[in-house]
Symmetry: C2
Subunit: 333 residues, 2 copies
Amino acid sequence: MDKVDVVKRYLPAALPTPTASAEAFAPSNIALCKYWGKRDKALNLPINASLSVSLGELGTRTRLTPISAATDEISLNGKAVALSDDFAKKIVEFVDLFRGPGGARLKVDTHNSIPTAAGLASSASGFAALAKAVDQLYGFGFSPQLLSAFARMGSGSASRSIFEGFVEWQMGVREDGMDSHAVPLQQSWPGFRIGLLTLTEAIKPVGSRAGMQRTLETAHLYQSWPLQASADLEKLKQAIDQQNFEALGQTAEQNALSMHATMIASWPPLLYWQPESVATMQRIWELRQTGVPVYFTMDAGPNIKLLFESKNQPEIEATFPQVKVVSPFDGVS
Amino acid sequence: MDKVDVVKRYLPAALPTPTASAEAFAPSNIALCKYWGKRDKALNLPINASLSVSLGELGTRTRLTPISAATDEISLNGKAVALSDDFAKKIVEFVDLFRGPGGARLKVDTHNSIPTAAGLASSASGFAALAKAVDQLYGFGFSPQLLSAFARMGSGSASRSIFEGFVEWQMGVREDGMDSHAVPLQQSWPGFRIGLLTLTEAIKPVGSRAGMQRTLETAHLYQSWPLQASADLEKLKQAIDQQNFEALGQTAEQNALSMHATMIASWPPLLYWQPESVATMQRIWELRQTGVPVYFTMDAGPNIKLLFESKNQPEIEATFPQVKVVSPFDGVS
């Protein structure tokens, strides 16, 4: 199905003309059960449900301002981006879903408080913030779940960045994908910590979109991935409910490694790890051997995200002095 | 089924008393389609068929000498090994299958021309040489296929080290496993080269036996492994038949990485790679990008085995000065 046709059904007959600007923030999110593989490439419908935790104030702030001009003006972190750039093209394509190709031009200012393409999903917070800002600009008043489904059309994991805290992206069954959106879990976990380790800021050689597709088409082992993911999702929900940190950590780490395993088993091989990634994993396992409950997750990149509880923060910082610690539930109601 | 009962059926009623000593050599082998997972732990019956290439003169030479003593005397590379050592225990257990626990004691001298436990399967050539030497010592006159089935009881991949060149280990279907033995492929490939890169000689933290078992029990992705292996086996046989080096290299590399992927997806994670393993893979992929057909395989350890043809040896040696090049078909009829 085509995105344009799906979105059209939710729009008013006449598009309101925006007069004021609109601004919205959405947090980045880190998946504990990963999204890897699409059953529909046009709509970003996933092969498996996923579960993430949002990163509080780390994310994307997007401001939309109506302008009298022939073309949109796109900027990222204060710098103008050419309309021929992939980043700009994706934004214009997304905005066009709502205003149509003939709608009034906009100035789109995007500010990320996380390094772009360094293994933190800036496209997730980016499309979530953009969807929220578009909703405000035109005064649609979409529900959060509808915003989540729309954000998903920009980038799959953006569906989860509409919400804070623990978030489940339900895979849905409908052909138009409108039941494939995120829902926030009710549980809070004040002592839950994420430690960001940026081992390299190099842009990854193969993006997630192409990487997923290659895995799906060439890795025999991928056939068992949906089974793994659905088992892990249930385990994670139970661990969150019981605040059982070790169960959560084990499940998240095995889930991430299993996703990387399906990439490694692809052809040509997809290895997002750098030598330093392996060295860091070994240090984590050694620290765990000494009795510190620390686990990790990784996305389609070389960087590592530590999972631990606040009570172990001193040991974590002693072993990884460069770690940036995020408290996902600070300021989350 | 018990090994003792299976072997007994092939032994003469009265064991001949050995008078002279016996000596045999068996080559190490490197699997292009890996053996990973057992359907029967006692008999080392595999879940999938595998295919290897033997390493010519790199392997194990074993000499058996009857002695008048209360216990066997075991040595490895000229050094005495205590009978309480795992290495010695496995040898005695294997010899006992044929002479019975009460048979005459032996001096067992084992010489490996490859580094023990450095990622080259010394247990494969070891049990193959031992099976051949036992056959000679007692004058059984077992067929090579029977020797292969017996060697398999010592170490699964030893079944392949009975033969030279390309070797297939057929998985078999019988409960007693006697149809699970290797057969040599007829094809020779004089220009085929293997480049051994010893990145570390460290003993691996988890042996293959325990590693396989952990993968089988904890990795969801392992469910797809037999499918991968059987597809790869057919591709490899076709590539060997057509002397299609790129097809062989691609299949062997994907097979090895898929096996490692099942380990990585286990719990606790089984990562045999060191940072240097990843760095070496990256160098191989870069070299391949420049048009040199070089591929690799890896076993349950951090070291890497390059696969290439003799015409590309100069480029390989320029990139990897420390490589030890093996010509598997030199001197193989």
